[in-house]
Amino acid sequence: MTDQTNNTGFDWTTPSFQSHMKRRRRSQLQLKLLGLGAIAIAFMMLMLLITSLISTGYHAFTQTHLKIEVFLDPEHLDPAKPARGNYRQILTDTMKTQFPDVPDDRAELRKLTSILSNGAQFQIRDRVVENPGLIGETVQFDVPVADTYDQLNKGLIDPDTPEEYRRLKNDEIANFELLKDRGLVTEPLNTALLTNADSRFPELAGLKGALVGSFYALLTCFLLSFPLGIGAAIYLEEFAPRNRVSDLIEININNLAAVPSVVFGLLALAVFLGWFGMPRSAPFVGGMTLALMTLPTIIIATRAALKAVPPSIREAALAVGASRQQVVFGHVLPLAMPGILTGTIIGLAQALGETAPLLLIGMNAFITSAPSTPFDSATALPTQIFIWADSPERGFVSRTSAAILVLLTFLIMMNAVAIFLRQKFERKW
């Protein structure tokens, strides 16, 4: 056996060769395990983040509501001026009918009405303003309950906590339990999270203002940075002579891409708001600031995509007598488009999550209505998260996580579009 292997020239069984093999395989295995370990750790971190966000955030996706029969008492309402009625009193009366045993005492009654959200009276008012004919009738309303009762209903208030440290006293809990027993408490999907603008009251606060603000800001950012970025990249890549000046420009663009975003915020504050006197907190200005940041990213991505188009395509077009411009716009740019779009979307996704520059131009203001134009004051998603994370009300804890989940959803969607475009337009040459 050994003789035979010797005859064929190489002995695979010698101890020195065996130990050499073993060493090589061991080091290969170590490298593999190291890589796997790194991926596992990264994945765990990600899972940890998502789990913690979902576990705190899911509470915000439902909202406790209370069904109430409201008698629109003509005594407190003037049909001529329905907007100026005493809705607070109407709500007090409504709650009084639910709890006939409660003594007619101001403090006790206030306790009852505080079960309802502060927004309840406005909800009723809006309905009456819309339809003044309802005055004098009894109408059923489905109103959100105040944040503390929402917390209670979601089991976030521990009844075992000593009463003096609890946010709801025993009698308040008992009152709420009574309503619950009567089947008046529901917990529907919290659509207000997306359809309401910001509010001081967590149960009314929503992301509409932030979503619209972010949309306008990103739109502005895209409209400014996409054409400018592509134009700059085409010039630098296809037309500019290679010399010291173009090298300097290239280095500076790469440096700009690495500049901390807060610096762009300060620049925008000084130039856009300070010199040009543009409006504070406006998504348009926010978009301009984000465009400053996104521009280098788009230029770099576009140049890389243009560079990736094989020179043989350029030569082919030049050789049939196409001008430089025809080569670029007819052949190179279409072939580079998937790469350009991918880079742009990733740049925009980055801009969507950017907070610091928006804080500096005042997009963290407290604004209770969604902007109707890009020049109105607004917040953006990341700054809204910042505001909510800073708010003391307990309801904002879960809403902050929910808002982060909404932001992440948009980011994932944008990246999915980028991947889709890349797959769809990828060409082989």
Binding site: P241, S312, A316, A319, V320, G321, A322, R427
Partner: protein
């Protein structure tokens, strides 16, 4: 300037399509071509042979000013196409390249349909006013490139989906579609298998009835097969230029002899 077509007889009389004299090419500081003088005849296949890096491709690319696209490249001397200097300031290299077509080493069809590949040149030069005219140009060019029968039923499929040899013939069709007078071929068969090579060589033989063809090749057999005139380049010099038969049977210069007998290169 090049729109002025000379009477056919005039061309036939002179018989010299391209007259290059005193051509020097520099890449930055290094000189790639030294003092090349060559007269390329009309309706003839001229082969440029020589070892790698001898400057034959560089010289070929001077003939349609493709070297203009390289920043560091500088061309001196005179290259006359139909007795007009193509490096004269009033000459537009873009128009020139429509007159002097080029086929490259690796087939490089546009990632578009077969039809659009061929139609692109005529389209940008406004050579066809109507769709019908364009169709005609495309068919004629594909026929001329001996590709029509193979692709006539799938003109709207991507050109990149063809086989290597078909792609190269598509590139030839694309080059002849702009009705050039000279066709430059830079090692057109080096990426092809022997069968595709034979087809392209056959095609070159037919093309010479209409164009002046200049072909750069590494294969001396190919030069012997397809060309009537052969130029041997060595280290940037044009060593010898003569009838192909003379070059291969009775070379005057010892360097040429060493190369064709396989001692250098």
């Amino acid at each position: 300037m090049f729109d002025v077509t000379k009477p056919e007889t005039a061309v036939d009389q002179t018989d010299i399509k391209i007259a290059a004299s005193n051509v020097q090419v520099f890449y930055g500081e290094t000189q790639a071509i030294k003092d090349v003088k060559v007269d390329i005849q009309d309706k003839t296949v001229t082969a440029f042979i020589g070892p790698s890096g001898c400057g034959k491709s560089t010289f070929l690319r001077c003939l349609n000013r493709m070297n203009d696209t390289i920043d560091s490249c500088r061309v001196e001397g005179r290259i006359l196409l139909d007795e007009q200097d193509i490096y004269a300031p009033q000459v537009d290299p873009v128009q020139l390249r429509a007159k002097v077509g080029m086929v490259f080493q690796k087939p490089n069809p546009f990632p578009k349909s077969i039809y659009e590949n061929v139609a692109y040149g005529p389209k940008i030069h406004g050579m066809a006013r109507t769709k019908g005219e364009l169709d005609e140009v495309v068919e004629k060019s594909l026929r001329r490139a001996a590709l029509w029968e193979e692709v006539k039923d799938r003109l709207d499929t991507p050109g990149t989906g063809l086989s290597g040899g078909q792609q190269q013939r598509l590139c030839i069709a694309r080059a002849v579609a702009t009705r050039p007078e000279v066709l430059l071929m830079d090692e057109p068969c080096s990426a092809l298998d022997p069968i595709a090579t034979a087809q392209v060589e056959e095609l070159i033989d037919e093309l010479k009835q209409r164009f002046s063809v200049v072909i750069v090749t590494h294969s001396m057999q190919q030069a012997a097969r397809v060309s009537q005139k052969t130029a041997f380049f060595h280290l940037g010099n044009l060593v010898e230029y003569d009838d192909t038969n003379t070059i291969f049977t009775n070379p005057q210069d010892p360097r040429t002899e060493s190369y064709i007998t396989g001692r250098i290169g």
